[in-house]
C-alpha cells in the first residue's frame, strides 16, 4: 500500500513537472532554435504530402513557416491526427498545432487558441442547375457527409427535413453525388472546393448554400502561456497587414490553385 501511494505521488509529481516545463514556451523555442508544428498530412490544401517532393506542404505549413521565420528559428513539421493533436500539444511534443482545428469553447479547457486564421464555413456541393441553392431546398432530399464530422450534426440541425447519409470519406460522398445517390454533399467549403476540382468536369458542380455553421480555425497553443499567445496573435495580424497572408492564401486558394476559394473574410485586427 505504501509502495502504491509512493508510485502515485511520483506519477503526480512527474505530471506537475511536465506542466511546469510549459512555462515560457517562447524562450524554450528560441533556446532550442526550432519551432515544432503539428500539422495534418492528408488534408489538402491545408497540409498534405506533395506528389513530387513527398514532403508535407500546404497553407498551414506556410503560416507556421512565417511564425518560425519571425522568431528566427527553424520549422519542424510533425504530422498529427484529429485524435492526437490536443494531447501532443499538452504534453509538449509540439509547440503549436495548425491542423484544421475548429476553435471550440469546450477545447479551451485543455489548450488555448490564437485568433481565427482561417474562416471555414460549412457549405453545400451540388450539381450546377440542379435546383438546389440553399439549405431550404434540401427539404426531403438526401445529403451526403462523412461519419463523425460536425457537418453531419450541423446540417441535420439546420434542415431537419433532409436525410443525411454518412460515408467513410468525402471522396466517397462525392462519388455518391455523381451517381445520383445523394442530392448534395456538405462540409467545410475548402474541402468541397477541393472535391470539385478533382472532377474531370469541375464546371458541372457548384459550391453553394447560405449560412449553416461557422468553423473558425484557430492555432492551438499551450494553455496559460500569455506571452507566447500574444506573439502568435500579433504575428498573425502583422501577416495580414503586410499582405503576406493574402500571398499565401492566393498560393493555395487563389483562382489558379487546385482549390479555388474566394476570400470574403477579414481577419480580426486589433488596433
Amino acid at each position: 500500500m505504501k509502495k502504491l501511494s509512493f508510485a502515485l505521488a511520483l506519477l503526480a509529481a512527474c505530471t506537475m513537472l511536465a506542466g511546469a516545463a510549459f512555462a515560457g514556451k517562447l524562450d524554450d523555442i528560441k533556446k532550442n532554435g526550432v519551432l515544432v508544428a503539428g500539422v495534418k498530412d492528408s488534408q489538402p490544401p491545408f497540409g498534405y504530402v506533395d506528389e513530387q517532393s513527398k514532403q508535407i506542404v500546404g497553407f498551414e505549413i506556410d503560416v507556421c513557416k512565417y511564425l518560425a521565420d519571425k522568431l528566427g528559428v527553424k520549422l519542424e513539421i510533425k504530422p498529427v491526427t484529429s485524435a492526437t493533436r490536443i494531447p501532443m500539444l499538452t504534453q509538449g511534443s509540439v509547440d503549436i498545432v495548425a491542423a484544421t482545428m475548429t476553435h471550440k469553447i469546450e477545447r479551451e479547457a485543455e489548450i488555448d487558441f490564437s485568433i481565427t486564421y482561417f474562416p471555414a464555413e460549412q457549405k453545400l456541393l451540388v450539381k450546377k442547375g440542379g435546383g438546389i441553392k440553399t439549405v431550404a431546398d434540401l427539404a426531403g432530399k438526401k445529403v451526403g457527409s462523412a461519419k463523425g464530422s460536425t457537418s453531419e450534426k450541423n446540417i441535420q440541425a439546420a434542415q431537419p427535413k433532409c436525410q443525411v447519409i454518412s460515408y467513410d470519406t468525402y471522396p466517397m460522398a462525392f462519388l455518391a453525388l455523381k451517381q445520383g445517390k445523394v442530392d448534395a454533399v456538405t462540409t467545410d467549403a475548402p474541402i468541397l472546393a477541393g472535391l470539385k476540382a478533382t472532377d474531370e468536369k469541375p464546371e458541372m458542380w457548384e459550391v453553394t448554400g447560405d449560412f449553416i455553421a461557422d468553423e473558425p480555425y484557430g492555432l492551438g497553443l499551450p494553455e496559460n502561456d500569455s506571452d507566447y499567445r500574444d506573439f502568435v496573435n500579433a504575428s498573425l495580424m502583422e501577416m495580414w497587414r503586410s499582405g503576406e497572408y493574402a500571398k499565401i492564401y492566393d498560393k493555395w486558394f487563389g483562382p489558379k490553385s487546385k482549390c479555388p476559394l474566394e476570400l470574403k473574410w477579414k481577419m480580426e485586427l486589433w488596433p
Partner: protein, 239 residues
C-alpha cells in the same frame, strides 16, 4: 478506372519519401509505406517472440509470485483492444518517463506487449501438450530443470507451436495499419494521404493497399509452411 494515380504514387506506397540522391550520394527523406510496415512487423514479431516465451514459461512456473506476474500481464493485455494500448503507450509515456517517446518506438512497444501476451499463451499450450514423460526422462538423465526445458522440451514444443505463431504474426502484420492513428507513416497512412490529395481514385488505391498487405502476409505464411516441412523431418512423433 484511374490506375495511373496508383502508378504515380507506387514508390510512395512502397518506401515513403525515401530517396537516393545520386548527385550527392546520400539518402534523403524518411522511410514509410510498405517498407515501414514490414520493419514494424518484423521488429514486433522478434520482440513479441522473446517476451511471449518468457511470459509463457513464467506462467508455468511453480513459484506463485512468478506465475502471478505472468497471469496478470497476459490477462490484462488480452482484455484490452490494441488500439487502446497504442494510445496509452503514446500518451502515458511522457507522464511516466518525463519525455515524449517517438511515435514509431511507442507503437512498436505496444505491438510487442500486445502480441507477447498471446505468444505467452501459445507457449504455455505448446509446453503442456508434450507428454509429461519428456520432462521426467530429461530430469532423469541428470539435467537441471532449466537445461531440460532448453534442450529437450522447447525444441519439440516450439516446432508444434509454429502454426499458432504464424497466425499471431500474420495478425500483427495486418495490425501495423493501426499505427496510422498516431501518425506513423506506414502503408495505410500513405494511402490515406494520397487518397485525400487525389480524391478521384479511392477504390484503386485501397485495392492496391489490400493487395500489398496480402502479399507480405502470404510471404510470411509461405515461409512458415516451408519451415514446418523442413522441421517435420526431425519430428519423432506423428509419423
Amino acid at each position: 478506372m484511374r490506375w495511373d494515380v496508383v502508378w504515380n504514387n507506387i514508390d510512395y506506397f512502397l518506401w515513403g519519401s525515401l530517396n537516393f540522391d545520386t548527385q550527392n550520394m546520400r539518402v534523403t527523406g524518411e522511410l514509410g509505406g510498405l517498407a515501414l510496415a514490414v520493419v514494424l512487423a518484423a521488429l514486433g514479431i522478434f520482440g513479441a517472440f522473446w517476451l511471449g516465451l518468457a511470459a509463457g514459461l513464467m506462467r508455468l512456473s511453480r513459484r506463485a509470485w512468478v506465475k502471478a506476474i505472468a497471469v496478470i500481464y497476459i490477462e490484462l493485455v488480452r482484455g484490452t483492444p490494441l488500439l487502446m494500448l497504442i494510445f496509452w503507450f503514446y500518451f502515458l509515456a511522457p507522464i511516466v518517463l518525463g519525455t515524449a517517446v517517438p511515435e514509431f518506438q511507442s507503437t512498436l512497444i505496444a505491438f510487442i506487449v500486445f502480441t507477447g501476451a498471446y505468444v505467452g499463451e501459445i507457449v504455455r499450450a505448446g509446453v503442456t501438450a508434450l507428454p509429461k514423460g519428456q520432462m521426467e526422462a530429461a530430469r532423469g538423465t541428470g539435467l537441471t530443470h532449466f537445461q531440460a526445458m532448453r534442450l529437450v522440451i522447447l525444441p519439440q514444443a516450439l516446432r508444434n507451436m509454429i502454426p499458432s505463431f504464424v497466425n499471431q504474426f500474420v495478425s500483427l502484420t495486418k495490425d501495423t495499419s493501426l499505427a496510422s492513428i498516431i501518425g506513423v507513416n506506414e502503408l495505410t497512412n500513405t494511402a490515406t494521404q494520397v487518397n485525400n490529395r487525389t480524391m478521384n481514385a479511392p477504390f484503386e488505391i485501397f485495392i492496391t493497399i489490400a493487395a500489398l498487405y496480402f502479399l507480405i502476409c502470404w510471404v510470411l505464411t509461405a515461409t512458415s509452411r516451408r519451415l514446418e516441412k523442413h522441421l517435420a523431418r526431425y519430428q519423432a512423433r506423428g509419423r
